[in-house]
Symmetry: C2
C-alpha cells in the first residue's frame, strides 16, 4: 500500500534540526521524498508498524508532528501533481 | 471526500513568499491546516476542480509544486497522527 508521511519538526533549536535530519533519513529508507516534508512509501502492514515505531522514538511529541495517510493499493488514480518535481513510478524500474 | 493538499512553494524571493501566502489563504477557504504545508479539505468533485484551477493560476509551475491526494469518503480510518496538533473533526461541530 502507499502510505504518505508528512511531518513538521520544530527546527528552532539544534536538537530540532538534528531530529529533522533523522526523520528525513528514516523516511528515505522506506520511500521517496516528493516535497520538502512529504514522503511516499510503499509499505506492507509490518513495515508500517515498524516505521511508526521508529519515527515515534525520534520525534519530540511536545513540538513535532507526524501524519500518516494510507492510500491503499489502488493509489495511482488518487494522486495528482502540479508544478515541478513530478515523482517517478516507485514500482517501476529506476533509471539513473 | 477528503483531499489532502501538500505544497512546496519557493520562498527565496519576495514573489515566492507572496505566492505562499496566497496558496495558504486559498487552501484555508476549503479546509484546515494540519501541518505547515499540509491541508485537509472536504470537497465534492466540482470543488476539487475549482481549487485545482485556482491554485494552478497562483503558483509558479517552474519552481513550486502542489500535490493532491484523494482519500475518498471513508478516510477516518486512513489517517494517523503523532505528536502535537491533532486536527479536529472537520465534519463535527466546531467548538471555539
Amino acid at each position: 500500500m502507499l502510505v504518505l508521511i508528512t511531518y513538521d519538526v520544530n527546527t528552532t533549536t539544534a536538537r530540532g534540526k538534528k531530529r529533522l535530519r533523522q526523520v528525513s533519513k528514516k523516511c528515505l529508507d522506506y520511500g521517496q521524498r516528493v516535497q520538502n516534508s512529504v514522503f511516499e512509501c510503499i509499505l506492507d502492514s509490518a513495515q508500517l508498524r515498524k516505521i511508526k515505531y521508529e519515527l515515534a522514538e525520534m520525534i519530540d511529541m511536545e513540538t513535532d508532528s507526524l501524519r500518516f495517510y494510507n492510500l491503499g493499493e489502488t493509489y495511482k488514480t488518487k494522486v495528482d501533481h502540479m508544478g515541478i518535481k513530478e515523482s517517478y513510478d516507485m514500482e517501476g524500474p529506476l533509471i539513473i
